[in-house]
Symmetry: C2
Subunit: 240 residues, 2 copies
């Protein structure tokens, strides 16, 4: 089957917002009108708008209409959305991002990794340390642990590009949920070396466990970000 109708509708409406057909703060046509015009039921339009609301394109006021959300004042280029499984390059408009694989090995997991990946001590894992650079300046250091059982073949070519693209497009794995945790910590020696962080610089750390849609943990990782080059951003909506 083709892409779901509500996703197609969402894309059409999103395009109209981006090309200025629907202007900031203006009301969109009402759901019934959009449904008629696009040849779908009202519920399908509503579902599309619900998604666009969650993504921050529109907001709705019961009894009034649906409106285009204006520019967010505190938004900066270095804000990275914490939502979505999209790779960094897509989400950010940062073109010159490169990878540098610092370490790549196969090991038995320690207790913490066993717990986080829900595996046994004799289930081997990949241990990856990767540095991300923007215009040759270090952005963040990424420690990744993944079970071999789910990913039979991983090599430097994949690590130098996108692991998530490989999992999704080549292995056809489907991501489920992710639990992410953001904290501030002090720079360690490793951070000082690879990130060119100073001794008393803070580090913005994102630790996460990612599950496949069948409930199996696929990745435990933490990124150690340069505090001055990255923020994490969240757009919150009331949408149940």
């Amino acid at each position: 089957m083709a892409e779901a109708k509500y996703l197609q509708i969402a894309r059409i409406i999103k395009k109209r917002i981006q090309d200025g057909t629907y202007q900031s703060k203006d009301p969109l046509p009402d759901q019934e009108a959009l449904a008629q015009e696009l040849g779908v039921s009202r519920l399908t339009v509503k579902k599309a708008l619900d998604g666009l609301e969650r993504k921050g394109f529109v907001y709705k006021q019961s009894g009034l209409g649906t409106f285009v959300l204006g520019t967010i004042p505190i938004h900066e280029k270095k804000d990275i959305p914490t939502t979505g499984f999209i790779s960094l390059q897509d989400e950010l408009e940062r073109k010159d991002i490169t990878n540098q694989v610092i370490h790549f090995s196969i090991e038995f997991p320690n207790e913490k990794i066993q717990k986080n990946l829900q595996i046994k001590n004799n289930d081997p894992i990949y241990n990856i340390l990767r540095l991300r650079l923007e215009n040759d300046e270090p952005l963040y250091l990424e420690h990744i642990y993944m079970p071999i059982s789910l990913i039979p073949h991983l090599d430097y070519t994949i690590l130098n590009n996108s692991i998530s693209d490989y999992l999704r497009d080549t292995l056809n794995l489907k991501f489920g949920i992710a639990y992410r945790k953001i904290r501030a910590t002090k720079a360690k020696k490793t951070d000082q070396n690879f990130l060119k962080a100073k001794e008393n610089d803070p580090i913005l750390e994102l630790e996460q466990v990612v599950w496949l849609s069948n409930g199996e943990p696929i990745e435990y990782s933490y990124k150690r970000n340069r505090f001055d080059l990255l923020n994490y951003s969240i757009l919150e909506t009331d949408n149940y």
Copy 2:
């Protein structure tokens, strides 16, 4: 009208998960069975489950069923969800949280605040500095700016309790979206004084703009958190 049916259904199912009626990793009854049992349509059950999935109680596998999500391994007590407009006390199981109002004044906004609250330079604002303590130990320092025009009467009693409860329950204001940004910074003198932070301690900062459901900005604020006492957490789902 009473609470929406899908929210009632969600609450019932959530309770069954929490009291162990549905065990971790077990499948729930299928949507049709739940619909029959609870006397609603299948779509209403689905909507309830969609919400529970976004909140991390269950996960669904098309063609297989809906399952109770097990405990999240990296979850800690000091993780604070970045989602929802719920006050800190409700969300955390931290009982002994107190407020200490350090500064409270009415002023004209500077340019940054004008921009973030979308107001003019002669629209007065509240300027609030509040310290949050847990068992008399400082947790975070909160700088809050809000337009007076939307909040006619604010006093120390309200500031010592919950501002958001006052806005919601007394003024009947409805929250719309919030844009939040998380960064790591260095401790300033203010942080050292009030948070008992050391000179080279990092600070975990959350900066945010909160809008009402009618699109008017109601709050610009930033919290400066002790790096060792708080993390922010995000639960990510595929849910469009």
